[in-house]
Symmetry: C2
Subunit: 205 residues, 2 copies
Amino acid sequence: MNARSVTNGVMARKAGSHADITGPAIREAALRLFARSGYAAVSMRQIAAEVGVRAGALYLYTPDKQTLLFDLMQDHLETLLAAWKVTKSGTSPAERLQSFVRFHVGYHIDRRDAVFLAYMELRNLTPENFAAIETLRSAYEVELETILAAGQEAGAFRLPDVRVTTMALIGMLTGVNTWFRGDGRLDRERIEQIYWNLTRRMVHA
Amino acid sequence: MNARSVTNGVMARKAGSHADITGPAIREAALRLFARSGYAAVSMRQIAAEVGVRAGALYLYTPDKQTLLFDLMQDHLETLLAAWKVTKSGTSPAERLQSFVRFHVGYHIDRRDAVFLAYMELRNLTPENFAAIETLRSAYEVELETILAAGQEAGAFRLPDVRVTTMALIGMLTGVNTWFRGDGRLDRERIEQIYWNLTRRMVHA
DNA sequence: GTCTATAGATGGATAGAC
DNA sequence: GTCTATCCATCTATAGAC
């Protein structure tokens, strides 16, 4: 029994109305394939095959391939920002920074494909789409930069340069995405601890 | 006057023997275009147009597109490793680490396209080529990990985890490639200083 | 909502003239 | 060494049947 057979009571794999299933399935397949092989290297036929439909059917759910990519990236960044806004906590600069570091690392572990896509496929966006995505990415970066600047101002942190430290930290934390697989000797909680440990000393807190 | 006119004394743009010029020109054009738009998104015709020849002529210099990519990545990593071996210096763990940090940041600033290509296009390599490149990448990572492990052993560094710190540092330092443009308020020497400052505190040296 | 079929463009790579 | 010409595969996207 798969999701489809639950819907119509048979093991049908052809024809019928499955908009509620096919739409998300396309997005999931596209996300996985784009993250694995790259946007330009993945064909609409491959995505369709993964979902179990023909290529033409994809165009009932997206006007074109570019929009499919853009929607995946936009949704990811909006979800990331929204998740951070409800997670952020702490009153002191150090507490706020810790909440950001743990959130960022944890989120990057949980949503590997979306995170990877969002920073690997920027160059495959049209100029208009790129501008929209960059605005969202920048808003997220500013969240960290604001914490660092406040800590520097209050004397809680001693940073050689707030802007460069922001970029250095983002790079360091995002890097977890490139090596962590979840099947190693360390679990998610331990990774978060280690990254926070490194960060704390880096900002001299 | 361009390089070609110097060679044969006329402003010729067609026919003639230019193996010594065309070969490197193809590699430079491919490196730039692959780095900017991605391997899969760049056509052999685009590369040829950039060089000033027709697509067919490229096949006098590379058996196929995949080999062109592989050679660029392999050359980069071999050059990187060789450059590091002649640059590495210092006797104490802290001195060795400083030499690595400054080398890595400086090299990433100087060879932006090659560096970017080497970590963005791994997924477009055939399995055999991927394995060869991964061996080289790993050898470079081990250089840093060895320094950190030695410092930890000697009590010069206090790291929560040598392996994770290696990956965190590589991510942090490599990140300079994604934002530094050379036309900002900071020069190369200052960037190296800042990254070393952050690193030194991170390892508790 | 999905399929078959296809238009129209573009891709990598090769053959043979010069 | 390069060009012209081309083969053949593949791609995105659409039209029309069911």
